[in-house]
């Protein structure tokens, strides 16, 4: 059998990176949620907040472990699968990843130990600080990795010498044209994803009549975030799209299945883009609405797919459909947030089973939206690995197809087991629910005492937690 090493390398990387992104898109938001719970507990002393924080920390630990180990894999795959890329872009992208390790990875990994194992060892204020460090670390990590990815989409601040990129202006490289939009879009997406999971678990307990106090807190915090960030994400997404139109117009053409740039674009609700015939089949579209969104003018023009040769177009089917899935889920989240907020205002939120049931079953939607979004932006960048600089087909390692195929099978097997068990265990933790008694809330100004005696005091007032 004749296997294409480029395709295999892409499949392998697509698989490992898709698997990985599931966990950061949960843990970035979840760490912030836990830190918020702990800070609220410090301020109010309400016990159920601490119980909730401990409960979510267990789930966080399982998710974070899967995120860490799948992330280490990626840092080596740049070399194992894309060694030509690591030479061509290494001078520019390498340091961004390096800064991610130095500013984020060590911070989160080290204080995670305190966050998980420090409940009884360290005074409460230090424990809360550790949770905040972890949350900040995950967000800093997003900053650098999105800077690196955005540079691959919109490379600036460099020069090419003998086919290798050399940095000229680091600030331009980091704050490249698509970076602010991508960072805002992705961070908001992670907070939305987590909020929906939290809301979902709250609804699940309410439906089952369990943990009423904790559920209400989760429902309120989840709905608050969705109602606030959902509409905001729509705005950010729109701006991100306009930015992409400016820098990567063909990606937009693929997202919209817009073939002919000499006519205003329609808003294609559904179609089957036919790459060979260069047209859309089974199209349902609103004429000129695409131009209205992208150019803010119903007769505005933007480049179509036909403006470049077929070899320079991204694969249409994944880009086109993933974009619709992402937007559809985004709109659903806005609806969930606004309806929830309205019910909350009418004081009917905790009894409205018609609302609780779908929300309790929709916890996974955010993950699908995040993955779809990444498929849009990464597949939409093809055939380029670094837009306009390096083609994906030219970026591979001198590794035979058989090696890649074998390791791809191993990755699928190992990740399949780990993922299935991870989901199973997280579900078990959720079924068990928040339990145990919290530590006494700290009096204001506790940490005036020396650290060691404060630690002793923290330990004394603790009740058994198992």
């Amino acid at each position: 059998m004749d296997l294409d090493p480029v395709l295999l390398a892409r499949l392998q990387f697509a698989f490992t990176v898709t698997f990985h992104i599931i966990f950061p898109s949960f843990t970035i938001g979840l760490s912030a949620f836990i830190a918020t719970l702990l800070v609220r507990w410090m301020l109010t002393g309400r016990e159920h907040l601490h119980r909730l924080a401990r409960f979510w920390t267990k789930i966080f630990a399982v998710s974070f472990a899967m995120g860490v180990v799948s992330g280490i894999v990626l840092s080596y795959q740049f070399g194992t699968n894309w060694s030509r890329f690591s030479v061509v872009a290494g001078n520019v992208v390498g340091p961004l990843i390096g800064y991610e390790v130095l500013t984020a990875f060590f911070l989160e990994a080290t204080f995670l130990g305190v966050m998980l194992f420090g409940w009884r060892r360290v005074p409460p204020w230090l424990h809360v600080m550790s949770a905040i460090f972890v949350a900040v670390g995950t967000a800093i990590s997003a900053f650098w990795i999105l800077a690196a990815n955005s540079w691959m989409q919109t490379p600036v601040g460099y020069e090419l010498r003998a086919g290798v990129a050399y940095p000229l202006d680091w600030l331009a490289i980091i704050f490249n044209p698509s970076f602010p939009y991508r960072l805002a879009h992705m961070l908001t997406a992670t907070y939305l994803t987590t909020s929906l999971v939290v809301l979902s678990v709250g609804a699940r307990y309410l439906l089952a009549g369990r943990h009423p106090e904790e559920s209400r807190t989760m429902m309120r915090m989840g709905i608050g975030m969705l109602a606030l960030l959902g509409p905001l994400q729509l705005l950010i997404g729109d701006q991100h799209g306009l930015n992409t139109l400016e820098h990567q117009p063909i990606k937009i053409a693929a997202m919209e299945a817009h073939w002919d740039g000499s006519k205003p674009g329609a808003l294609v609700l559904f179609a089957w883009p036919d790459e060979k015939a260069e047209m859309n089949r089974f199209e349902i579209a609103i004429p000129k609405a695409g131009s209205l969104i992208l150019k803010h003018d119903p007769n505005g023009l933007f480049p179509g797919l036909k403006s470049v040769p077929p070899a320079d177009r991204p694969p249409l089917i994944p880009v086109f459909f993933a974009f619709r899935i992402m937007v559809g889920i985004g709109l659903l989240m806005i609806v969930a947030g606004l309806v929830g907020a309205w019910l909350w205002w009418r004081r009917r939120l905790f009894e409205a089973r018609w609302y609780l049931w779908p929300v309790a079953h929709g916890w996974w939607l955010g993950f699908v939206a995040v993955i779809s979004g990444w498929i849009v932006t990464e597949t939409g960048r093809q055939p380029w690995l670094v837009h306009g600089v390096l083609r994906t087909a030219d970026a591979t390692s001198p590794v035979p197809a058989a090696s890649i195929a074998t390791t791809l099978a191993l990755f699928v097997l190992v990740y399949g087991i780990v993922f299935a068990m991870g989901i199973y265990y997280i579900n078990r933790l959720i079924n068990k629910g928040p339990e145990g008694r919290a530590v006494e809330p700290p009096e204001m100004g506790t940490p005036v005492r020396p650290l060691s005696s404060a630690a002793e005091a923290g330990r004394e007032i603790l009740s058994p937690q198992r």
Binding site: R54, K58, A61, V62, F64, A65, V68, V69, G71, I72, V73, S75, Y76, F78, G79, T80, S83, R84, S86, V87, G90, N91, V92, G94, P95, I97, G98, E100, V101, L102, T103, F106, L107, A109, T110, F111, L112, G113, V114, L116, F117, R121, V122, Y166, P167, L168, S397, P398, V399, S403, L410, F411, V414, Y415, V418, M421, G422, Y425, L429, R466
Partner: protein, 334 residues
């Protein structure tokens, strides 16, 4: 090009790799010794002794790999494809043992599988790291700055011996760590294991020290030519001294010093390898200067490293200090 930048970076990455080998060495080593524990309570104790640290320890591996890419992209682009299979297997093994830290606590009926994932993953990861080390020392076929060998070039008896040597070495670090951090039956057993492992480690160090100069002429030239030999003869002597101290302190029932002496033993072995290969990153063809990143990239990253590394080391020491002393029974968040 400034000749000193690659030297600084080689020293920094060398330090990161050394820190990785020691820090993840003891927690992988704890995993390697996992099957020899008497019961689940003892396994809990062993796992809890490393649980707060393993994640931070593994971050040094990311820094080592990431650092190699940042500072020496040409070497990274040769080494990773050349050692493709051991690298990927190592990563997969680390996946298993990493998630085992969390899954084992939540599991009920499947706990024994996660025990196996933890010990098997730790052992396999250590073995693959040895293969990678051996694969590097024995040299990689390079043409025009690109890897030009086959997918199994690394698979030699020498690399296999290096694999076993690293497993044994990590197990020694793990055993002396357990002597320091645990008490009761776990610590007792670890003390006995440490002695046996020490002898095995010395045997492996001897084999590798004889094998490398005999098989690879550039290594023989490095050690046995004048004037090098006048400067280098203390290295094996100090190594022997460190080994002796590990043994005597173990015998004397000391708890902390055997671990520190094992670290010293490891660092000396590491120093020996550095002496054998410097300034080659990809022996026997590519040096640190040939593979270096653009000076602008190395400087940009160096500024951040100089500013941040002390902070990182500071809070890492702080966290080790927070969790100082013996592991307490039943301590954990689960």
């Amino acid at each position: 090009m400034e000749w000193y930048l690659p030297v600084i970076w080689a020293a920094l990455i060398g330090t990161a790799v050394a820190l990785y080998v020691i820090l993840d060495g003891f927690d992988l080593g704890t995993g390697i010794l996992f099957p020899y524990a008497g019961n689940e309570r003892e396994r809990d104790q062993m796992m809890n002794s490393v649980a707060p640290f393993w994640d931070g320890n593994e971050t040094w591996l990311v820094l080592g790999g990431g650092g190699l890419w940042v500072a020496f992209p040409q070497a990274y682009a040769v080494v990773m494809p050349a050692l493709y299979i051991p690298v990927i297997i190592m990563l997969l093994a680390l996946v298993f043992r990493g998630v085992a830290f969390e899954f084992r606590w939540v599991a009920v009926t499947s706990r024994k599988y996660w025990n196996f994932a933890f010990s098997g993953g730790s052992t396999l990861a250590a073995f693959c790291q040895g293969l990678i080390l051996g694969g590097l020392i024995q040299g990689i076929k390079v043409e025009n700055g690109v890897f030009a060998g086959g997918p199994f070039d690394w698979a030699t008896p020498f690399a296999g011996v290096c694999g076993l040597a690293v497993v044994t070495g990590y197990a020694l670090l793990g055993a002396t760590w357990l002597v320091m951090k645990t008490e009761g039956a776990v610590a007792e057993r670890a003390r006995g294991q440490a002695k046996a492992l020490l002898l095995a480690v010395l045997a492996f160090m001897g084999v590798v020290s004889l094998w490398t100069p005999l098989a690879f002429e550039w290594i023989a030239a490095r050690w046995f030519s004048t004037p090098n030999i006048y400067f280098l003869w203390p290295v094996p002597l100090v190594t022997a001294l460190a080994a002796l101290m590990v043994w005597r302190w173990l015998d004397a029932g000391r708890e902390v010093p055997p671990f520190l002496a094992s670290i010293a033993l490891f660092l000396l072995g590491y120093l020996g390898l550095v002496i054998s290969t410097f300034p080659y990153l990809v022996p026997p063809t590519l040096t640190i200067w040939q593979t270096a990143a653009a000076p602008a990239s190395q400087i940009f990253m160096l500024v951040g490293t100089v500013a941040l590394l002390p902070v990182i080391l500071g809070y890492i020491v702080f966290v080790y200090w927070l969790f100082r002393g013996k592991v307490r029974e039943g301590e954990g968040y689960h």
